[in-house]
Symmetry: C2
Subunit: 324 residues, 2 copies
Amino acid sequence: MPSIKDVANLAGVGVGTVSRVINNHLNVTPETMEKVNAAIKQLNYIPNEVARNFKMQKSTMVALLLPSIWHPFFSELAYYIEDELDREGFKLMLCNSGGRPDKELYYIDMLNQNKVAGIIGITYNDIEDGVSTDIPIISIDRHFGKKITCVTSDNYNGGRVALQELIKSGVKKAAYLGITSSIYSEVILRKNGFIDEAEGQGIEYIIYEEKGDVYNDNVYFENFFKIKENRDVDGIFANTDLLAAKYIDRAKKYGIRTPEDVKVIGYDGIQDNKLFHPILSTIRQPVEEMGRMSVKLLLRKIEGETLEQEIYRIPVKYRLGETT
Amino acid sequence: MPSIKDVANLAGVGVGTVSRVINNHLNVTPETMEKVNAAIKQLNYIPNEVARNFKMQKSTMVALLLPSIWHPFFSELAYYIEDELDREGFKLMLCNSGGRPDKELYYIDMLNQNKVAGIIGITYNDIEDGVSTDIPIISIDRHFGKKITCVTSDNYNGGRVALQELIKSGVKKAAYLGITSSIYSEVILRKNGFIDEAEGQGIEYIIYEEKGDVYNDNVYFENFFKIKENRDVDGIFANTDLLAAKYIDRAKKYGIRTPEDVKVIGYDGIQDNKLFHPILSTIRQPVEEMGRMSVKLLLRKIEGETLEQEIYRIPVKYRLGETT
């Protein structure tokens, strides 16, 4: 069966244009309309669910809940989610919901009222009660108590690989640096992978964590360097790139150089150019795949399908930078 | 007259919660509902246009068209626009429309059909024909031929200040580096301010530009350094931070050090921490003010007001980094 993409390709226009012709929108030139209609006829194209939804006034909007779009990891993710939604004829509503459960619940209301077709969310607020399994939601990184489908990077393996790479670069005593959330999410597996790998290889290691809701840069690092046994650490795995960069900056003030004295690996891969230094060695999240897969799974849920798998974990890769 | 914010403050809840109570949404606890209703009664609050729009099923959505959300300047801008819209009871639809005029026209269609209430756009596509003056649109940086309200930073003064700061740091021969667009926008004033300041101060200067649609990092900088008279430049004003960072990186390969041999100033202020180097000296865009003002002006347009001013220019500030 031909798809809307086939029509667009044949007519030499974008999918959005085809959708506009099908739905009798304004701003289509007569020539374009003719080209598209000719392609529809030639391919015997039947507008699919999405196109029909337009006519039936069903919502073609998906809400994306993020702690904050003003963060390179989230803005990259939003970029791919919007792109994938657009390919499928859906639109993106954006909500910065960091620390604002009321905003998240508002969008869940909209979903219950069919004002949005589905939700993709990275959320760390306490909204368990507002979420039920029978509404189309995809959660990134976070597990809900109920069986909400979760898309995430392979955090556990990321933690293992990080320690393997530290050891390869000569590290004898490694520390895991983390900031924790009161909400359980897959992020914790970065630590678990690190610990299991350290135990397996029999290497000395330290776990250093603080709670996100009381986190403060100064206190965090002062306390870290105060502890004598943390001073001779020669390898760091920080659970985000930002935390890795903060460690490097603070360590410098104690005369500790990266990578000469300490090798450092982060997690995320937020640097998309090599213009600013240090270029972090990091476990790169498969952001594009995570974004596109979230959309694909959500659309299947919107169409009423029951997904068999609860968690979709996407492989990560180690990216060598200047800090190991 | 009391506002929805007054009600929220008195009830000790967010504006979104008040809106949810007014509109009989789900996910409001009985206690919250009681608190909000008590506050409404006490203040004699009458739901405003926005709240009424909910009931009347008018759209409370605003579309934001950006070249790409995956860029620190745009994601910061989107952050503040979403926050300001949320305060006013509106929602944000996000569209990455770089190189995709069809996507932009699609949103203009939605506006014409009242599916979105208004549009805020940073757009470099050729969509003049789709845009009319009587629809609520705010354009950032770009002028349309018609009288579309434009919000922008004071680019002209930014260009002047950049050169003044270069001269203060000892520069004798300055170059302006730019990437141009076929669409006329306020960005060009960065160059004009630079030139006027250079002429006024009688300092030697060079203008070096290439078109964005054929731009290529390698070609751009090879050609720049090929020209003999560009080699003894000791000050650079690049029209974006990214271009400034690229210059610094390339110059290094020619043995030119920043700031020892050349002082460099960018434009935007995309670095929001001091963890990655070089920390650029830059003309910082007033991103928060631009975002919030765009929303405020748009809402006035949505309410039918005619704005007197065509262009709103917001002052910029020089931010000292490590490159001057």
